[in-house]
């Protein structure tokens, strides 16, 4: 497809703008003016609409296809959330309004949304309080580990510089810990996929600040030792971070705070049905136990005895400002609408159906693919394409084969500790019929891998482009249009 720059023609315009109603003037000195206008596209409004409509049709999304991308919880995003986010009273309010004197009264509706979402999330995950400010999951991780650093610092416990991280963790965990000033030490998984308790015990010591644990794990297993792990880390004075990426699988069934976790991030774009947007914006609120409340970022929204809401900044032990204002409010608003819709009774229905769907796929595909662990899984099932790889069909090839069959592929090559991994997360919003179709496509591919593996390695053939040369892109980077 042509680029917007390639359909651009000098003199065209896609919008009408008002004329000057004041004298045309500028206070910009001549030598600080740009000589030529920035070479932005010049297209008619219709050309513009057609271009981006056609571009959108080159995408696969939840609205068009089953999207079982493991670890990403690609559940359906309700449409009326968009209507709410677009309401003038929310979309057009300036974030500095509450900072005008007595300005809190100007944005009571918005502050209520933040406050109530915060309270509901705290309740759901068993924490004392949350901050709604982090703008993504990894941003939540960073906020959480910074609070762990501040906690130890406040106790003059300066030697705790090690963050323990299981080998199955998301790459963001060590990356976030590094930005918070920690050195990472890896903890191996045992043969069942759980944290190797002996290795953990051996690593625990006075230099350990804490442990970052994904619960349920990235292997989609509920570690039966979760509480014991928290206890062991606490015993040596460390804190335990819960990566809440997989929270959808225990929603309404387990509260991480009850298990002993000190701090956890939520991904509103996973568990709470806000759109992934092609990679963002997300939102990554962080819940904490009482011990970490003093370190939460500012500002914080509180409720006065008269039922009004206010922003507070006076928390001397706070880690400070991790966002310009109050977080990705537009995303928080969508999650708020979702929480009000599903209600108390919906929480468990969500996790039950997510876990049931995943186990159903697991049982159906077991005869064809090597199961990573012979156990009941949580919300996603994990296979290895080892059997198929012997015939030259890799996890990547299978992914491309699925694309040709109308399905977005599962996550591949993660977690790193499972060879040729395929991580399938159906979520609770898919129907049994759709899941059955997916299972049949996977079975068809397994059979094709035996009989005619080359056909799969040629996939995809039905999409706008065939397999793209990623090596070329990295070796000779072309990162903008030079027309």
């Amino acid at each position: 497809m042509e680029l917007i720059y390639e359909i651009s023609r000098e003199g065209r315009t896609g919008s009408s703008l008002p004329d000057f109603d004041v004298p045309e003037a500028s206070a910009i000195p001549e030598n600080l003016m740009r000589e030529e206008s920035a070479d932005l596209p010049e297209v008619s409004e219709m050309d513009l609409v057609r271009h981006y409509t056609l571009l959108s049709q080159l995408n696969v999304g939840i609205d068009t296809n089953f999207y079982p991308l493991g670890s990403c919880t690609m559940k359906y995003n309700p449409k009326f959330h968009e209507q709410i986010a677009a309401m003038e009273g929310f979309s057009s309010i300036h974030p500095l309004l509450p900072q005008l004197r007595h300005g809190g009264s100007l944005t009571q509706g918005a502050l209520e949304v933040i406050y109530e979402t915060e309270r509901m999330l705290s309740n759901i995950a068993g924490f004392a309080q949350c901050t709604m400010q982090p703008m993504a999951g990894a941003h939540g991780e960073l906020t959480g580990v910074m609070m762990i650093a501040a906690y130890h610092e406040a106790r003059n416990d300066h030697k705790r510089k090690i963050m323990l991280i299981p080998d199955a963790a998301h790459g963001t965990n060590p990356a976030s810990a590094a930005v918070a000033g920690f050195t990472c030490r890896e903890i191996p998984s045992d043969e069942n996929g759980d944290v190797d308790l002996e290795a953990l015990k051996a690593a625990l010591g006075p230099d350990v600040a804490g442990l970052m644990l994904t619960a349920p794990s990235t292997l989609s297993l509920f570690d039966p030792n979760s509480s014991e792990i928290c206890r062991l880390v606490h015993e040596i004075g460390g804190l335990v971070y819960c990566d809440g990426a997989n929270f959808n699988s225990i929603l309404g069934r387990v509260r991480p705070g009850d298990l002993g976790f000190d701090v956890m991030h939520f991904n509103l774009h996973k568990t709470f049905a806000t759109p992934h947007g092609g990679g963002g914006p997300g939102s990554g609120p962080v819940g904490v136990g009482e011990n970490l409340v003093p370190y939460l970022p500012v500002s914080r929204v509180s409720k006065r005895p008269d039922g009004t809401y206010t922003l507070e900044y006076d928390y001397p032990e706070s880690i400070g400002y991790i966002a310009p204002f109050y977080g990705n409010f537009g995303i928080i608003l969508r999650a708020y609408a979702y929480l009000l819709t599903i209600g108390k009774e919906g929480l468990l229905r969500i996790s039950e159906n997510a876990v049931l769907n995943a186990n159903y796929i697991r049982i159906k595909l077991r005869p064809y693919y090597k199961e990573a662990f012979d156990r009941y899984c949580m919300h996603e099932c994990l296979f290895s394409a080892d059997i198929q790889a012997k015939n030259g069909v890799t996890a990547l090839d299978l992914a491309k084969g699925l694309l040709d069959r109308g399905f977005h592929p599962p996550t591949i090559y993660f977690p790193l500790i499972v060879h040729e991994s395929l991580m399938i997360e159906p979520t609770e919003t898919e129907s049994k019929e759709e899941i059955d179709k997916f299972i049949n496509a996977m079975i068809e591919l397994a059979e094709l891998a035996k009989e005619n593996p080359e056909e799969i390695t040629k996939c995809p053939v039905t999409l706008p482009v065939k397999r793209l040369d990623e090596t070329l892109a990295a070796r000779t980077p072309v990162l903008k249009f030079e027309g």
Binding site: M1, I4, V22, A27, N31, S37, A38, D39, L40, E42, E45, L48, Y52, S56, L58, G61, Y67, F90, P95, L100, R101, T107, V113, R119, S122, G126, M146, G171, T172, A175, F182, R255, G278, G280, P281, P324, G327, L340, I342, K344, G346, R349, I350, E352, N357, Y360, I363, Y376, L403, E430, E434, P460, V465, K466, R467, L468, P477, V478, L479, F481
Partner: protein, 446 residues
């Protein structure tokens, strides 16, 4: 409940298939043995209609009708209707990170188009696919300079957004980077003091262009001098203003960041926004964030992929360039659609309208008895005035008259108790500006 497709019959069939009696049996087989928790705070579920009615009531409690003269880095620009109409298409909105490029060409090509526009607007070589917001982008720029120079001292002008400076302080608290802030002079940076603060151990100088008070400053000579000390020059900018201004690239900046909210993204009470970052070619391989690149498919057809991924956390883990693994894809889509809708001459026109209306506003407001302009500087679309009394009190009075009159600077600069930062965009009409002046005069003297 809504959003779950399985019927009771489906569930039974599936439970049978996996060898479980019921859900309790499945939880137990999945080794979840914790007692069932109670959720005291969660309300009972409501219908779509009830939630819409409730949220509409909340929306109406927010004073969105105020005539807005508050800016301070976040601006009330017009958003053409094509922007929301296109970005809410499900194919864009409900896709995820383009890990499968063949099924994500829509997202990828729009990123490539965005990167091109950002390079053209800023005069830089390479743009990434965006970061969270302007503040995180500026922090990431500082860390990029630290990686590039292997030095750990950053000099920051007091004319950089105080919001961004607070964020940089927060993020740096465990990173052993020395932050040196150089106070401003009225509404201008102090280039002499900044240069003195840059020594051989300095990784970068961080400024804002136009600065927080909207002052437009020429950084060309300063940049030459700091380059001779092997430090990098970073600026945070305001994209709309660059339609008129000499580009940061031309001035010699190594790294440019911006809050991209002004490019078709609603104010939405603080987010989601768009962190823009563009750099010179030599910084490319140490830049954080996703980057989209052009390539070809098996048949030689043009296509786009995420590239230079060895910089990123899913490969480098704790040695990654940043912990950021997402971009603000839908927000950058707003930005490229906005820039295409207003177009090459349209963005210039928007910027000219802002500048002209700001000059007009400054004139009528400084004609009021007792109101003085602070500084005699070239400016873009904001200016600072000194009132004869506490500016927050006056702003409060004007709210009752329907105006958000500006941002009282005392919130961030304690000694500027009487000063007000007034912002004007193309949305403000001559009548609204005159109305503000009349109301301000009445608030001061009646």
């Amino acid at each position: 409940m809504p959003y779950i497709a399985n019927t009771d019959a489906d569930r039974k069939a599936m439970l049978d298939a996996i060898g479980c009696r019921d859900m309790d049996d499945l939880w137990s087989k999945a080794e979840v043995h914790c007692p069932q928790p109670e959720f005291n705070y969660m309300p009972k579920g409501k219908s779509e209609l009830e939630v819409l009615q409730h949220t509409q009531n909340l929306a109406e409690k927010n004073h969105s009708h105020l005539v807005n003269f508050v800016g301070a880095g976040y601006y009330d620009h017009h958003i053409p209707a094509v922007v929301p109409a296109l970005i809410t298409r499900g194919e864009f909105q409900t896709a995820y990170t383009p890990y499968q490029p063949e099924a994500s060409q829509g997202t990828l090509q729009s990123i490539y188009e965005y990167q091109t526009a950002i390079c053209r607007l800023t005069g830089m070589d390479v743009s990434n696919a965006s970061l969270y917001d302007g503040g995180t982008a500026l922090f990431e720029a500082m860390m990029l300079a630290v990686r590039m120079t292997r030095k750990r001292r950053a000099v920051i002008s007091g004319c950089v957004s105080p919001i961004f400076r607070k964020m940089i302080h927060c993020y740096s608290s465990n990173l052993n980077v020395e932050l040196v802030e150089v106070p401003e002079d009225e509404v201008s940076s102090n280039p002499k003091a900044l240069l003195e603060a840059v020594n051989d151990k300095t990784a970068c100088l961080i400024v804002q262009y136009p600065n927080f008070f909207s002052t437009i400053e020429d950084w060309t000579e300063v940049i030459e001098k700091i380059h001779s000390k092997k430090a990098l020059a970073i600026c945070s900018t305001y994209p709309t203003s660059l339609a008129l201004l000499k580009t940061p690239g031309e001035m010699g900046f190594d790294i440019v960041t911006a809050e991209g909210q002004s490019l078709g993204i609603p104010l939405s009470f603080g987010g989601p926004y768009l962190g823009i970052m563009a750099v010179t070619k030599k910084c490319m391989r140490k830049m954080p964030g996703r980057i989209c690149g052009e390539t070809v498919d098996k048949d030689g057809k043009r296509g786009f992929v995420l590239t230079l991924q060895t910089r990123e956390q899913h490969i480098r883990r704790e040695d990654a360039m940043s912990n950021i693994c997402s971009n603000e894809s839908l927000c950058l889509l707003s930005a490229i659609i906005y820039m295409s809708a207003v177009g090459k001459e349209g963005l210039r026109h928007v910027a000219k309208l802002c500048a002209a209306k700001a000059i007009y506003a400054k004139e009528v407001i400084t004609e009021i008895k007792g109101v003085k302009a602070v500084g005699n500087n070239p400016f873009f679309n904001e200016f600072v005035v000194e009132l004869p009394c506490d500016s927050s009190e006056i702003v409060q009075k004007l709210i009752d008259k329907g105006y958000a009159a500006g941002f009282p600077l005392s919130s961030y600069y304690s000694e500027r108790e009487n000063q007000l930062l007034i912002s004007v965009t193309e949305k403000r009409t001559k009548e609204e500006i005159k109305g503000l002046a009349t109301a301000l005069e009445a608030a001061l003297w009646n």
